[in-house]
Amino acid sequence: MKDKSMDFAFRYGAIIVIIGVIAFFGIKLPYFFTYSNLTDILGSISIVTFVAIGVTLSLIVDGFDLSVGATVSLTTVVTASLMIWYQQPLAVVIIVPLVIGAVIGLLNALLIVKLRIPDLLATLATMYIIGGIHKTYAQGYTIYNHMQFPDGSKAAGEMDPTFLLIGQGKWLGMPISVILLLITVAAVHIFLTYTKYGRQMYITGGNEEAARLSGIKVKKVRTLAYVAAGIFAAIGGIIYASKVGSGQIDAGSPLLMESVAAVFVGFSVFGAGKPNVIGTFIGSVLIGVLVNGLTMMNVQYFTHDIVKGGVLVLALAVTFYVLNRSRT
């Protein structure tokens, strides 16, 4: 009996906290539960969730990718510059950043898998390098339509209106970025849960040596996980550029901690106790809901972080306290 209620608390503790938060806002705020507000919330978290999906994948293979924020910064600047500086067609504008994300993933994999530098250290180093590259590339400027160069001349291009639809367009009132996000979350979830590749990733993360001796190509699996993390960060960067309509300098760095927080809340969801993409999505939604609700309630902006942290602690505490009690 006691065991059962424990198990229940573990499985649903975090979810209950989240539902509690949402219910609270729903009761307090008349406009909270409107379709357009809910789609707004989803729209506001789409970028960070894409980044968080990448972090989730790296965590599944027992890695940690600190460079995702910098990757967002680089790709968002590159995306904007391809249109504004070089007036490239849409396909190039989309593909080049994705390739850059993949290359950064490969670089991380090279350092981690090949040179065997511990993940946190290696990705910290790439974080600095990519951060430096993107600022050097943009010379510290934000890249905007017809931007003015120091010599007084102007850039010829501007952001492609079709491209802007990715981040700003809607379909049945639902932001296109959200539709992309939901499809991605579902696809990654299916990939991780039902395919052998997903299984191999979890197993590699669980015990690399045993996985290797069981015939899994662990280096390949881990490399692909980092490449995927880079690509998802690049998608985040593309959406960022589209949403903001320019290439903001250093746009990605705040996204690192935010996405990590989402992934970590996700640990607690449904008592998974391990990184999982549905959890990550829910974690992200929780953060989005908090920002939205607290703003609506006109709570002092500087107390938002206290609430965010408090909810995070609560969700984690419920999950892990119960998880560990049942373990010993």
Binding site: L29, Y31, F32, T34, S36, N37, D40, G43, S44, I47, W85, Y86, Q87, K135, Q139, G140, Y141, T142, Y144, N145, H146, M147, Q148, F149, P150, D151, G152, S153, K154, A155, A156, G157, Q168, Y240, K243, V244, G245, S246, Q248, I249, D250, A251, P254, L255, G288, V291, N292, G293, T295, M296, N298, Y301
Partner: protein
């Protein structure tokens, strides 16, 4: 290569002129100038640096930029090391009261110091500041006029930065003086302003449906951009945004007739850089300089602007007082090609 359009031919002011390529010779040439910046990303900062660079090039000086990357303690250290490395001139950008001990030390060592946008007072050092009160007042008064003296407004603002705090003072006074204008919501975030402001503005728009918000006042252009995007995407074109500060990037938004951001008050960032350098060279030249120089802002609103898109370097043709500031120019500077037109 990068596809560029040529510089607008009618561009006036120094920005259009390319800095001289041949070595400048004069009694003040060859000076080593240190510029210590709290941060240097973003269009405003870059245009400012551009101004500093151009003007130093005219004097034939050599610029070294120290950037603290938002770490204020690092800024203190960088200032210290600039002093220890015996630079001829020290310029600082942002950073606040923390600069005071360092500036004092520099002045004691007879290094000319010109400070931009930091509230410090050290006799002998010139502090350059935008007139933040004035900027806030200009936009607030215009807003008041546009909304007929009453309505519900939203403020986007954060504390923690001296200019912001000065703007808040004007805002507070304005609210007191206009009891019919009510602040119904206030938010802001210095972290990730581009996206965060947009997400929060969206929430506010939901909370206060059509008719409940009259205008938005943003104490910083980054905030104005985010708020404007949210309003535009939500189709709430009844709400207008008033901002402060303006870079080339912002100008386009204000020019865009569909954009809710209609007006801003600002000082040309390139001008700030130029004026700062001139005061520094005055000090080098042994001129008497005042300890406080206030750069007067100009008010820029959509109606005053042409239909065709322009850049800040062309703005002076349409808005009086923008660009080509003659503050700090002395006759002897004509030797270096700097003259008040």
């Amino acid at each position: 290569g990068i596809k560029k359009e040529p510089a607008a031919s009618q561009a006036s002011g120094a920005a259009g002129e390319t800095p001289k390529t041949e070595a400048v010779t004069g009694p003040l040439s060859g000076k080593r100038v240190a510029l210590i910046m709290e941060f240097n990303t973003g269009t405003f900062s870059q245009q400012y640096v551009q101004g500093v660079k151009e003007e130093i090039a005219k004097f034939g000086g050599e610029l070294t930029t120290f950037v603290a990357d938002n770490d204020k303690a690092k800024m203190v250290s960088l200032l210290d090391s600039a002093i220890n490395q015996k630079f001829d001139v020290i310029l600082t950008d942002h950073g606040d009261s923390l600069l005071e001990p360092g500036v004092k030390k520099a002045v004691e060592q007879k290094i000319p110091v010109v400070v931009f946008d930091a509230a410090i007072s050290v006799p002998g050092a010139t502090v350059l500041s935008q007139n933040d009160q004035k900027m806030a007042e200009l936009t607030l008064e215009q807003m008041k006029k546009d909304i007929n003296g009453k309505g519900n407004i939203v403020k986007v603002w954060v504390a923690g930065f001296a200019p912001m705090e000065r703007r808040q003072l004007a805002y507070g006074a304005f609210l007191k003086a206009n009891p019919e204008i009510k602040e119904i919501a206030a938010f802001g975030s210095a972290q990730n302003p581009a996206l965060d402001t947009q997400a929060k503005m969206e929430a506010i728009l939901k909370q206060y449906p059509k008719g409940e918000i009259t205008a938005v006042w943003a104490a910083w252009d980054e905030f104005a951009k985010g708020a404007a995007r949210a309003i535009q995407q939500a189709g709430r074109d009844e709400i207008k945004v008033y901002g402060i500060d303006m870079s080339d990037e912002d100008l386009q938004m204000i020019q865009d007739p569909k954009n809710p951001w209609v007006a801003s008050a600002a000082v040309d960032p390139t001008d700030i850089g130029r004026v700062q350098v001139r005061y520094a060279y005055q000090k080098l030249n042994g001129d008497q300089t005042e300890d406080s120089v206030v750069l007067n802002p100009v008010y820029v609103q959509r109606e005053a602007l042409p239909d065709k898109q322009i850049s800040t370097s062309e703005l002076s043709q349409y808005v009086e007082g923008w660009g080509g500031s003659t503050q700090g120019i002395k006759d002897w500077m004509s030797e270096y090609g700097i003259t008040a037109k």
